[in-house]
């Protein structure tokens, strides 16, 4: 094994088939770079995804990968991490996969605080199936399933994950590659559940003002606003602007991360092995002793 892993070491021979101009190409490149900065070799990494354009990422990375079923990336990723806590587990998917089909899994992954990095490529439509409304589509958006404009209030993914208590919450755009790469790296290094909302526009079915060229003029780095990422209330306040402002950077980073679920499970297993705790079967044996 070489001493220094380069971004290309994480590239797979499979060529992406996303539409030219798709934001996901930048996300993939940022991931390769962030992984080479973190320095974990490919055999220590697992990519887990659901279904959708962005969920194709496991195929494009040299690492373990599981392109699972729609909306079920998080439960499977938690299982992978608990089965092999030494793996670096990265979950990738879209806003529909994460907040509609798989929406019920988000709060539980967060409250358990399994050490995962969840990257949501939020494009505000179901791109793979030709541009239907998704949970983050803005109200009024005209799509094939809302020809007169959406009547629904969109989910705010940033507020959602903050409200459930995620320890690391950030937002990025491929319009700022250095910024996005640094955020992905920071999320991977965070010890616990980390979430990055990546505004990765759909070039084919997305709105013009949501495209990367428009992002370049709209994005506002949170650091330039003097935001303190350890201030959870300020993070919640800033997250309310989702859909109107394009803030990039770390909204919230828990200054004292609690123990992760996987660490607690290891601790419990060690206690059992040392005999400090007795498994239920033996407790029952004691009870049934004559």
């Amino acid at each position: 094994m070489k001493d220094l892993l380069t971004p290309n070491d994480y590239k797979s021979p499979l060529k992406p088939i996303w539409c030219p101009g798709c934001g996901d190409y930048g996300v993939l490149q940022a991931l390769y770079r962030a992984l080479s900065a973190v320095g974990r070799p490919p055999h220590e990494i697992a990519f887990i995804s659901g279904i959708g354009c962005s969920s194709r990422i496991p195929g494009y990375a040299t690492a373990y990968g599981f392109n699972t079923v729609h909306g079920r990336a998080l439960p499977i990723a938690q299982g992978v991490k608990l089965a092999n806590p030494d793996l670096l587990v990265i979950v990738a998917g879209g806003d529909g996969d994460g907040f509609s089909i798989g929406g019920g899994h988000v709060p539980h992954a967060i409250r358990r605080n399994v050490d995962l990095t969840y990257l949501v490529m939020d494009n505000q439509v179901y791109g793979l199936t030709k541009g239907q409304l998704s949970p983050t589509s803005p109200r009024g958006l005209k799509t094939v399933t809302s020809p007169m404009g959406s009547l629904e209030q969109p989910i705010n993914p940033l507020l959602t994950v903050l409200a459930y208590g995620a320890g690391f919450v950030a937002q990025a755009t491929p319009a700022d590659m250095p910024g996005m790469t640094a955020l992905v790296e920071e999320a991977i290094r965070y010890p616990g559940f980390s979430y990055v909302n990546i505004q990765s526009p759909c070039i084919t079915f997305g709105e013009e003002e949501q495209q990367l060229k428009a992002h370049k003029g709209r994005m506002k780095p949170l650091a330039s606003l003097g935001h303190d990422p350890s201030d959870q209330l300020a993070a919640l306040d800033l997250a309310r602007a989702y859909g109107t402002e394009l803030y990039t950077g770390v909204f919230y980073r828990d200054p004292s991360p609690p123990p992760t679920y996987d660490a607690l499970v290891r601790q419990r297993q060690a206690e059992l092995q040392r005999g400090e705790r007795r498994p239920r079967s033996r407790v029952l044996d004691d009870f049934l002793k004559p």
């Binding site: 220094l4 380069t6 971004p7 290309n8 060529k15 992406p16 088939i17 996303w18 539409c19 030219p20 101009g21 798709c22 934001g23 190409y25 930048g26 490149q29 770079r33 080479s36 900065a37 199936t129 030709k130 541009g131 239907q132 005209k142 799509t143 094939v144 399933t145 020809p147 491929p174 319009a175 700022d176 590659m177 250095p178 910024g179 790469t181 070039i203 084919t204 495209q211 990367l212 060229k213």
Partner: protein, 174 residues
Amino acid sequence: MTPVTGIDFERITLRDALDLAVLIEEEARDRYREFADQLTTHATPEVADFFSRMARIEERHRAELLERRRTLFGDSPSTVDRRNIFDVEAPGYEEARAFMGVRQALETVLASEVKAHAFFNEALPRVKDLELKALFEELRDEEVDHQELVKAELARCPEKPDDSEAYADDPVAQ
């Protein structure tokens, strides 16, 4: 938003500057290869061929710079790597389009050459060493030569309306 991170131009050595130049060409070569693959997949063969040609040109530039680096410094280790650079000469991913025309592709390449020129121009005032300054001026001026070549090709390329939207599906109830 700087395209180069973690490099202090006031302290950079000639060896690392040459390595940086090699990596800039390498990144551009890889991006053009990616664009060629994307447009091959998305049924735009003429532009895919054009981007393949661009990748070969960038590879030639990279090889020339690498040769120079090896002549001067052998295989001594470098302190710069691909993680330090972001789209210096490589066009951004947002520039590719399915069904784009050759003219659009040429405009993309021209914008990238302008971007690379601006990078060297902005770095130059921070470079103190005279030998280094000469290298950066040479690299910057080469970008001007490249721009002229692309402009000449653009002048020969017929004006064609952008029909990249013509193939998009009309909304249909699912």
